[in-house]
């Protein structure tokens, strides 16, 4: 009997001490939208940048930003890369931590991701600014979405408030297109490729381009609380992300052409199934090192709270943690 126990102990020791190379890399589930805006993550996965630092990423596709935030809260995914919504901030208000850790796309001059489109007949009738839209129906995807935020901030720039228009949530970008085409709303806050489609079909005309009007931190990389507590893995993922972000920046923002750019377009086309012309138009601007726009998340938190869509008065330290990025950047100094 004693011998049997000893033998079992030996076997289990041998199993535990299996050679490190044979062990699979720790998996990280990465929730993204199948859009051009996720190009930097497709790049990191495809080129093996995450594996280089010991992380095996698994892409999980979602249809909208909000479900990604919910999946982060429930622990179904470890990393989310998508737009910042009031729903995300309310999750944190509800007692579940989600951490905003890096830049993943900004509304930026000449890099417009979204726009306000009005019906062509209204445009021809003289509606050229938000002032002319007073009391009109403006379609957005969802209450609390980035599009809702866009409309609210456009209005504020004109000295108006959300109460000056009628916000109609239609639940999706295709529904916004249909509603404007069928003239059931007067304007829609929408994004590419739907902006181009509306203009080419003659249904609508752009009156505000978001990036040109007010730049903001629209999308970020987010960690679930579980991943944030696993510091080594969280930093390792971030090192892979920084490498992908720099490669992306150099190809798309700095050069705008060349073999690396063409390769990224082809790769994104393969992952999203979108046409290359649309992809070229849809690449977002982001910081080369993945740094967040200073103070912008705080501005969003204050605005949503002031409008009554986020109940608690959160501050940046409740939702932002750039320490992973800082550590990754320090470790990656030699990789420039």
């Amino acid at each position: 009997m004693r011998r049997l126990v000893a033998a079992l102990a030996l076997v289990s020791l041998a199993l535990a001490a299996a050679p490190g190379g044979a062990q699979p890399l720790p998996k990280v589930k990465l929730g993204v939208l199948k859009l051009t805006a996720s190009a930097v993550l497709f790049l990191g996965v495809e080129k093996g940048y995450f594996k280089e630092f010991g992380v095996d990423p698994e892409l999980v596709y979602f249809q909208a930003a909000q479900p990604i935030a919910v999946a982060l809260a429930s622990g179904d995914i470890d990393v989310g890369a998508t737009g910042l919504t009031a729903g995300l901030y309310n999750i944190v208000t509800g007692g579940v931590h989600i951490w905003i850790v890096a830049d993943k796309g900004r509304e930026w001059p000449d890099y417009n991701l979204s726009a306000l489109v009005v019906r062509t007949d209204l445009y021809d009738g003289g509606v050229r600014s938000l002032r002319d839209l007073r009391g009109k129906k403006v379609g957005v995807t969802q209450i609390g979405s980035t599009f809702h935020y866009n409309v609210g901030r456009y209005l504020e720039k004109e000295g108006m408030t959300l109460a000056d228009v009628e916000i109609v949530p239609l639940q999706g970008l295709p529904a916004l297109n249909d509603a404007l085409t069928a003239r059931r709303v007067d304007a829609v806050a929408t994004a590419e490729p739907f902006v181009s489609r509306l203009e080419s079909s003659g249904a609508g005309r752009v009156i505000v381009n978001t990036g040109d009007t007010f730049p903001w931190q629209i999308a970020t990389v987010m960690y679930s609380d579980k991943l944030a507590k696993n510091r080594a893995l969280a930093v390792a993922f971030m090192r892979g992300y920084v490498k992908a972000s720099r490669t992306y920046y150099d190809a798309v923002i700095a050069r705008k052409s060349g073999p690396a750019y063409d390769e990224l377009v082809a790769l994104t086309a393969r992952y999203t199934g979108a046409a290359p012309e649309l992809i070229r138009k849809g690449f977002p601007y982001q910081d080369r090192d993945g740094r967040l726009m200073p103070g912008d998340v705080g501005r969003q938190l204050a605005w949503w709270h002031q409008q009554g869509f986020v109940k608690a008065r959160l501050t940046e330290k409740d939702v932002v943690d750039e320490s992973f990025l800082r550590e990754a950047l320090t470790l990656s100094l030699g990789f420039r």
Partner: protein, 264 residues
């Protein structure tokens, strides 16, 4: 003569009402729920506390927000339910009484009844727009079918003996319909109304989740979009109260309309 005690062996079958146990069971559940959320094991995001839901509901009631949602939803339900029930009973009666109407109506109802009404919603929106009409129409359709089918079945099951008796006493066609067929169909009609009430709540929420600006369905969807689970629970509780209220009203109406029936 001696009296033999006879044990009542059917005692086990009598159903007592246990009014205290009913209330206690519900209270215990709510209490356990409150305690669970107080311990902090479950974040309020996943399971808001009953007191939190109550407080949020009271706050929304005080601000008048809840009243607007309930009023909008009630208007849609009353209109849709009323029109659907009226249409259903009329069509059911006609199909049940007249052979020509039966020949035309029966296959039509059989072909259109199985279509889930939610699937028709996008089509209704195209036809009637995103306003009130499409929302009322989908509820109307959902109520119409159970009403028509139940009324038809009720009329067809009217006791032929009673009909013959009425006719032999000199009752005319309308008299037979009004005094024999309709009353004997009433239990089925009320069963249809109860079914329809449940269906109309379901369709109301579905319809209000598309392009609405107010209503309970809108409140729930909105709370989901904003991840405000407490407000979401308020919406669900209001729906459940609406369901209870409509059931209570229908039971009352049934007792008033069918005084000869034993209480169910």
């Amino acid at each position: 003569m001696t009296r033999l005690p006879v044990p009542d062996r059917t005692r086990a079958l009598t159903r007592r009402r246990h009014p205290v146990a009913r209330v206690l069971g519900l209270l215990a559940l709510v209490l356990a729920w409150e305690v669970l959320t107080r311990t902090g094991w479950v974040p309020p995001l996943f399971l808001p506390s009953p007191l939190g839901v109550l407080a949020s509901g009271a706050e929304m009631l005080a601000s008048g927000e809840l009243a607007v949602h309930i009023a909008t939803s009630l208007r849609r339900i009353v209109l849709g339910f009323g029109l659907g029930a009226l249409g259903g009973v009329s069509v059911g009666l006609a199909v049940g009484v007249f052979s020509l109407a039966e020949a035309i109506g029966n296959p039509l109802i059989a072909a259109t009844f199985p279509i889930p009404k939610i699937a028709l919603l996008p089509l209704l929106i195209l036809w009637l727009g995103i306003g009130e009409a499409s929302k009322v129409a989908v509820i109307m359709l959902g109520v119409f079918f159970p009403m028509a089918i139940n009324t038809y079945t009720g009329v067809r099951h009217a006791d032929p003996l009673l009909i013959r008796a009425a006719v032999s006493f000199g009752a005319g066609r309308w008299s037979v319909i009004r005094k024999v067929m309709l009353p004997s169909a009433l239990p089925m009609i009320f069963a249809g109304l109860k079914l329809g009430a449940g269906t109309s709540l379901l369709l109301l929420v579905a319809a209000e989740m598309i392009a609405a600006n107010s209503g309970i369905g809108f409140l729930i969807l909105n709370a989901q979009n904003l991840m405000e689970t407490t407000r979401l629970m308020v919406g669900i509780v209001v729906l459940s109260l609406l369901g209870l209220a409509s059931h209570w009203l229908l039971v009352r109406a049934e007792r008033a309309a069918l005084p000869w029936r034993p209480e169910v």
